[in-house]
């Protein structure tokens, strides 16, 4: 077998231009695949991760709240959340935060009630550790110890004409349906990186509890583990807790609209990934096919000189393995550079698009290049190159040597 490998290597060197062109096709194909798939991986991961951050990897609420969630019924609340937080956080590596979200009219002018905006009340560690809000503040600062401080998403700040130091007056409702006003000091404006977050008013949980008149509770308990992709398993562990009996426990992708979002986004990006893979595969396959087919007469000569059919096919397969292996490895390496650049810098889609959609799409879409993606693309390039060479080689080796030698180059 070693002789066959040597022969394959010599063949590659013998026609360096052909080998180079074929190799370049493999390199370019796998490099493009690396960039494309890494970027798609980054986009989907960002959307899902943003969704899980805002919605909670797992969300605990009352079943009645879940049933009427679209209307955000404040009266269907978790009356006491401390015990629930304690029970959930007893699970290793799990953090839980009570949250209240509701609609308010907000203004920085004299009259109340000009803009309707969603307000989110949550503990400051949620803003710090999960949303990374302090790092996203572009004007002013994050929340301080004063519970009357609000950080505004960039879009709502723009709509309200709010600036740092302004008094923000919001008018909401208590859980009983009574009008509930709140005066907040705008201390920061944040670009959260997604349209949904940029339209939010972020306040400490304490103030939201006062607004909704839910003194010790919340509407939801947002629960986080280490990986948002493992949310379903985390939900199952939480459901088993006796303290949460009778409550609704859902992973983010089990909830509307995220269940549909996950399906739609996955379908769109799987389709895009499929197109990229097929186009790349066709380029590599076609190049390999052509490079073997043009050597049909050479197959005839080898066969006439007494080379076995299996050895003939093996020779071409070995050539393809060398070319495909080296080309795919180089392609992944070359593609990794722009993929890592996209991961770091991203592509700015502009917040005009993202501000209008109700899914947490980031204005700047970053790629996400992983060793798994690199490994899969290398394997794909290699297999396609080998298949592209093996199929015509088998066909050529099955033709009578005299007939094969007659074929034009």
């Amino acid at each position: 077998m070693v002789w066959l490998a040597r022969m394959a290597l010599r063949n590659l060197a013998r026609n360096a231009r052909r080998s180079l062109l074929t190799g370049v096709a493999v390199v370019v194909g796998t490099a493009l695949l690396t960039v494309g798939l890494s970027w798609i991986n980054g986009v989907t991961t960002t959307i899902f991760s943003n969704a899980a951050d805002l919605a909670g990897q797992v969300r605990v609420a009352t079943p009645a709240f879940v049933l009427r969630e679209a209307r955000l019924p404040l009266y269907e609340n978790l009356e006491q959340t401390d015990a629930l937080v304690q029970a959930v956080q007893a699970l290793p590596g799990v953090r839980a935060y009570p949250a209240i979200r509701t609609q308010v009219t907000a203004t920085v002018d004299e009259d109340i009630g000009e803009h309707i905006a969603p307000i989110l009340g949550a503990p400051l560690p949620y803003y710090q550790d999960v949303l990374g809000l302090p790092a996203k503040v572009v004007q002013g600062r994050g929340h301080g110890p004063d519970p009357s401080e609000a950080v505004l998403g960039a879009a709502i700040a723009r709509d309200l004409g709010a600036g740092i130091g302004d008094d923000l007056v919001v008018l909401g409702q208590t859980q009983d349906g009574s009008l509930s006003p709140l005066k907040l000091a705008v201390v920061g404006i944040a670009e959260t990186g997604n349209g949904l977050g940029d339209r939010l008013i972020f306040v400490p949980l304490e103030r939201a509890r006062w607004l909704a008149d839910i003194p010790d509770g919340g509407l939801e308990l947002l629960v986080f583990g280490d990986d948002f992709r493992a949310a379903a398993a985390l939900a199952a562990r939480i459901r088993a807790l006796p303290e949460l009996e009778g409550l609704s426990v859902q992973a983010w992708l089990e909830r509307e609209p995220y269940d549909q979002l996950e399906q739609i986004v996955s379908k769109i990006f799987n389709f895009l990934s499929g197109i990229i893979v097929v186009v790349t595969a066709m380029v590599v396959l076609n190049t390999m096919l052509m490079s073997v087919l043009e050597r049909t007469s050479e197959v005839g000569v080898l066969r006439a000189m007494g080379m076995k059919r299996s050895h003939t096919v093996g020779l071409f397969v070995l050539e393809a393995m060398m070319l495909g292996g080296a080309g795919s490895a180089l392609g992944v390496l070359v593609g990794s550079m722009p993929a890592l650049y996209l991961q770091r810098v991203g592509v700015d889609l502009g917040d005009e698009i993202t501000a209008k959609v109700d899914v947490p799409v980031s204005a700047v879409m970053h790629g996400l290049h992983t060793p798994q993606i690199a490994g899969r693309i290398f394997l794909l390039g290699f297999v396609i190159a080998v298949l592209g060479a093996a199929l015509p080689a088998v066909r050529a080796a099955s033709i009578q040597p005299v007939e094969a030698m007659r074929r034009k180059k």
Binding site: Y75, I112, L171
Partner: protein, 247 residues
């Protein structure tokens, strides 16, 4: 025999009271107005709002002048204390002390419950004379709580009225609408409103308790119980002014 029958019928006629002569709807509405409208009134009240998951009680004091002016101040609980409302004609204002702002209650907000109760802000505004707002017919006599009541079906004269149709049981002795069913134009029952335990203030009978049940919500009920009612109160000149509201 014939003379015996005449004697029996004559005795029955003496024992039984004469049947009440049926008043017209307009007469009943005028009688209701005499009881419910006033030149000046002060009262303290507690408002108990029962919701499926909790009950909340508010303490308030209220001033009224004629059918146009009204002022209310919440004194408890602490988070609502200092909240004031001012009604002037068909306009309603609310002062929110926590933000030191005055909010005009208008549009869709008017249909929301006052402090989440079964009584809407719109109900607060509708203090005009019943006689001026409705016309109708007396459809019969029914007993409520063992007391005979005239049953009236009322139709609004003006399409601006919150409840285009009311079915009202007017206590024959008190001339008060002890029970009302308030309907939308579509015929849907929106609210039930009871006036209970009336007390006499001179010539006037006035209920000491309102019970309001919003039929569009489940298991809710609001009870307003009045105390310290004073229909002869002397009102300050600025009682119904924006200055009072924002003081």
């Amino acid at each position: 025999m014939k003379s015996l029958w005449i004697l029996v019928l004559g005795l029955v006629g003496l024992v039984l009271p004469p049947a009440s002569a049926q008043p017209t709807a307009a007469e009943l509405l005028a009688a209701i107005d005499r009881n419910l409208t006033y030149e000046a009134r002060y009262a303290r009240a507690s408002m108990e709002v029962v919701k499926p998951r909790r009950t909340k009680t508010y303490e308030l004091q209220t001033w009224g002048r004629g059918v146009d002016d009204g002022a209310t101040e919440f004194v408890a609980p602490a988070r609502e204390a200092g909240t004031r409302m001012l009604k002037r004609g068909d306009e309603l204002w609310m002062y929110l002390p926590t933000v030191e702002k005055t909010q005009k209650i208008s549009g869709h907000m008017l249909r929301q419950g006052l402090m989440g109760s079964d009584m809407s802000y719109e109900d607060l505004l509708e203090t005009s004379s019943w006689y001026a707002m409705y016309t109708g017919q007396v459809t019969g006599v029914e007993e409520l709580g063992g007391r005979p009541c005239w049953k009236l079906v009322l139709t609004a004269k003006d399409d601006q009225v919150s409840y285009p149709k009311r079915v009202v049981w007017v206590d024959q002795g008190w001339s008060l609408p002890v029970k009302q069913e308030l309907y939308a134009l579509s015929g849907m029952l929106l609210k039930e409103w009871l006036m209970q335990d009336p007390e006499r203030y001179g010539e006037r009978m006035y209920p000491s308790r309102f019970v309001i049940i919003d039929k569009l919500q489940q298991d809710t009920r609001t009870t307003i119980t009045f105390s310290d009612m004073d229909f002869g109160v002397k009102l300050d000149a600025d009682q119904f002014s924006m200055r009072w509201l924002e003081r």
